[in-house]
Subunit: 273 residues, 2 copies
């Protein structure tokens, strides 16, 4: 391909931008790549922005000036988001998901790459005012969700290990008390996994009493990290008093009645952030 | 937007296709969505396919007939793939990555969403002849890689737990012997996480003697699953005799000399598959 036609540039630029969220592409870069005038590229980008906005998912941010350019922002549309979360609540509230011990089976949902890609964009959108250096989670079930959030932010993921069998050099460990079961657990993170003074957002799949989240926050203190926000896919109505104060939950498990086979889940409208 | 212009359709269709790899979109679907003739949509798709191929990443597969349509196939280009793996080998062969005990620090790489998205496409491409129902891994470090492979296949991820503290209902557990350290470990998977008679591809980050992979294969037998392939990012030259015979490794750790601070990694050209 020598000189690219607009329709071809549209495909290529959309691919570049979508696959690299929040990465700055200069007009000069695209202009050289496609052997096209900057004015044409600029028009292209307007079409891309308007189309994305009409589709209601994502937009382009233009940074003016000599060092300027354009970035894809994977922001989610409030209406689509609301509909998606309603649908998810409904799927999760299936009584067949009740497990012995009063647990809710969620792994098929939270390991589904399409669903968690959307959830990652939702967390990104809710935390859009923040500029984290890392997205942090603790193994295991929250990892896919945290990874997709990291992808939306275009930042690396950090996974805290839920024990101390860490083979990544010197590590910092803390003990924490699971708020619901009162069991003592250990979590650890290799020193080199997170530079001191980093800004982080914590993502997890589920919160009951908040003991695990509290543990993560405490471990972050050991790394002198600033926790900008905590996001969980689902929290529980009970206990109302959580071990952490400020977090953002998308869904709330209002009731899980093992005996009467009833699950009530609602989308959280008001958030603690 | 009423009638969409071609340039707008290009953006929207590229987004739909890229975000849903291997999902069939019919001409009728696009035609209705964009209020455009099927003949125009068909031309659009030709432009998208040709542009993707010129970019050397991904293509469109056309399924003819009444139930036909088009799918995005995230196939990676051999040259780009080779260059990417060379670059990755070089980054990983940094002596500063040597950890006490002769381990290699890789987590910054294998938790980087951009890198593992590319690796996921590479595994997809290497296993393109297969039609897995699930991508399977064992916690923890292989999860991001397996998730991105699952995303490329557009199939769900299944995560085997490395112990038996599974709260997902009845589970199948097996003991396995780590081939390198000779330690006995347990891995388990909830019964409902994987229907019997599924076809699976196993993905992991690292293989030394192959004990963990062997354990996964054995656990899959308990689920009557057919293992179509096993992919690991990196294996080790020693021991040459692995506990499993057929697997695909992308990189090989040829030498890790803790004393002399030397790491040699090479891209594997010949594969065991």
């Amino acid at each position: 391909m020598e000189k690219w036609r607009r329709s071809e540039r549209m495909v290529a630029m959309t691919k570049f931008l979508l696959e690299n969220p929040r990465q700055l592409f200069t007009l000069g870069y695209f202009s050289e790549l496609f052997h096209s005038a900057k004015s044409s590229i600029s028009e292209d980008l307007t079409i891309i922005r308007e189309t994305l906005q009409a589709m209601g998912e994502g937009t382009l941010e233009t940074i003016p000036g000599a060092a300027g350019g354009v970035k894809y922002i994977p922001i989610s549309n409030p209406e689509k988001e609301s509909e998606f979360l309603d649908n998810l609540s409904q799927r999760l509230a299936d009584p067949q998901r009740i497990l012995p011990g009063g647990y809710l089976y969620m792994t098929d949902i939270i390991y589904d790459s399409n669903i968690i890609a959307k959830l990652g964009n939702i967390f990104f959108t809710r935390f859009i005012q923040h500029e984290p250096d890392y997205i942090v989670t603790v193994e295991t079930k929250g990892i896919p969700l945290a990874l997709m959030t990291a992808k939306a932010f275009n930042k690396p993921l950090v996974i805290i290990r839920a024990d101390s069998r860490v083979t990544e050099g010197s590590a910092l460990s803390i003990n924490y008390v699971s708020g619901s079961s009162k069991k003592i657990g250990t979590m650890s993170l290799a020193r080199r996994a997170l530079p001191t003074d980093s800004k982080v957002i914590i993502i997890d799949d589920f919160m009951k009493a908040g003991g695990t989240a509290r543990g993560m926050v405490d471990l972050m203190k050991e790394f002198k990290a600033e926790v900008l926000g905590i996001g969980v896919l689902m929290d529980t109505l009970e206990p109302q008093e959580k071990l952490i104060d400020n977090y953002l939950g998308l869904l709330e498990l209002v009731e899980l009645d093992e005996k009467n086979k009833r699950v009530i889940i609602r989308k959280k409208v008001e958030n603690h952030v």
